[in-house]
Symmetry: C2
Subunit: 418 residues, 2 copies
Amino acid sequence: MNVKGTRDFLPEEMILRQQALEKIKNVFEIFGFQPLETSALETWEVLSKKGAGGDEILSETYSFKDKGERMIGLRYDLTVPLARVISDNPNLPLPFKRYQIGNVWRYGDVAKARFREFLQADVDIVGSESLLADAEVIACAIECFNALGIKEFYVRLNNRKILNEILRLSKISENKFTDILRSIDKLDKISTDDVIKEIENKGISKDSIKKLLSYTKIKGEPEKVFKEIEELEGLNELKEIISYLKSMKLNSKVKIDLSLARGLDYYTGPIFEVFAEQGIGSVAAGGRYDKMIGLFLGRDIPATGISLGIERIMEVIKERKIIEMTKSKTKVFVIAVNDRLRNKILEIVQMLREKSIKVDYDLRSRTLSKQLEYASSLGIPFAVIVGERELKEKSVKIRNMKTGKEEIVSINQLAKKF
Amino acid sequence: MNVKGTRDFLPEEMILRQQALEKIKNVFEIFGFQPLETSALETWEVLSKKGAGGDEILSETYSFKDKGERMIGLRYDLTVPLARVISDNPNLPLPFKRYQIGNVWRYGDVAKARFREFLQADVDIVGSESLLADAEVIACAIECFNALGIKEFYVRLNNRKILNEILRLSKISENKFTDILRSIDKLDKISTDDVIKEIENKGISKDSIKKLLSYTKIKGEPEKVFKEIEELEGLNELKEIISYLKSMKLNSKVKIDLSLARGLDYYTGPIFEVFAEQGIGSVAAGGRYDKMIGLFLGRDIPATGISLGIERIMEVIKERKIIEMTKSKTKVFVIAVNDRLRNKILEIVQMLREKSIKVDYDLRSRTLSKQLEYASSLGIPFAVIVGERELKEKSVKIRNMKTGKEEIVSINQLAKKF
């Protein structure tokens, strides 16, 4: 039995995941991101750095003492390890554009599609304060979803500076900002009335809440929103990002949404979320965090990035049947009509494999029909049947497993058929 | 700082690892193995199953209580999780040929090239008692090393049945077999005299040891060894495996070695090890384990497999400079001669990226020469320089970063150049 909240990926699922991840990795590299890998284990000192993950995540972190009595834990995201890597390698050429695809662990509620071990795929740009960098990670995320063939999605874009400004304009005191942002973040998850109640319980006046909600309901096409609101600190940054995305012809995928808050404390500027329609919700999220690396390095380095939630993305791909599922990548199953031909078929198998063709054969001395059944159950598209009679003429039979069509082919010509 | 015994892989190292793993994965699939992934976490019940990992490994396992007070741990290999998967999925079509590439964790001595988090790449065949299956995993391993370009290696082949037979012939009592095998396993690591002392200390007579060592020194080309010794239980199995490898034209890479014992208790038949020459040692090892899955499932299913030690393999690749190292996979760095062209170059960048070309550009408003320096420091092969004058004629300049050669190219023709 698996540890609760963790899973195995059998070949059928795994082949699908590999295909999706291959597409994502390819887009990451097209956008100039380079691969990084960090350890699953981090010291507790790193994981618990104030201003990094936050208390809520820490309470969900798998932690334990190693045999040297040092507290260590399993990483809960890929951003904190990145900040540590930057601090451990101060001479990396900047900007450092890296991607990392890896598991993270959180000991949370095991609800539908919430796992305790799950895969994230992150791109981050460290060392650029330019909003080009934010546009770059947003564009990269958009192109990932395009490459995956997930059509019904859009990017929600906001700015922590705007949120701070509207909190100030709503006369909410600064020490409550983080707490109130966490309530605002729930606007697309629970009812507005429930959010109002929650904010009231945090000691905010009805007038303040009214003012606040008059801002957070502002959302829509950038051009429309930009006309609607004239002046707000941080709005210019969004305009600049949109202008870059326009040059990349990707602006049509973006909506401004002043209700987007994102839970994490460390964001300092633009924040964004990829939202899949038809009831899926957030499938990627990120933002600018110019102060977080400083916690590790001792001096600030600006950074921005986005994290793709692979488990949700895989759900979308499976539900919408975007990629066809298959149980095997094998192309050809070679069958001997009797056991005497065992060594002979090994020669044929090896000849095909040397041409990089994915080939398998029977390892259980089964009958011809059982072997065909097995190949068929795995969805292998071709069988090569080796019989005494054909062999005498240096030929074999190819059977198309889908159509049942068969043809005799000379062994010399066999590899060319696949 | 990293947790002791764990590492980060910066892009230069990571690109190399990706290239090597891609080759290995490709050979695995050519041999008909399908991908499987299991969780890093396993229950303590699974990890500590008697006859699976063994006490020595268990003492090196990262284990801890989860918040529900259940003992869990990080997997120490990929074989025990496979046995659990087979037991959890009793209806998988057999034989089940799977590969898994993943990290394992062991809290051991941090000596040279021994890490506490390290990558293994395993192929196993579950559900075939045929020696074809053993030949298949050995052949697959040989072809992996061929594909990696690692030339100086050979496979050491032995059989637990032979070892048991020679222990019996040496009049060693059965309850000491496992313990003595562990000493024999050291014959290629410490001096023969030290091994003799160790076995003596285990209460074995000088005569027995002499007899035993007269067998364990038998090694060499299969044909030669087969002539040398006439009758030993399990020898026929090796002859059969060699005959299959001969049909695959891979027998020249295999040597019989009666001193090969392999530490793990669970092997029941042929055992094998890929040995890299020039002081590297074991880079892959495996064998047949027909009784292990039964510990989990309750009924025996025969199995055989091999595990490639990726960390050692990477050392060989780096030391022998088999794959060229590079800091970036980016092919083109697009440069604007001034900041006014910023949005313009985004159009060009996006145009190239849409053709799947790996493209990057400046995110720090640096001068032309600083940008060229950055691209050069990452080993990016081409720069595209966008200037006002060329733009008027819908052209840009391509610079070969290695030769310094430049040419003017129309923007329409640009993508075709890469």
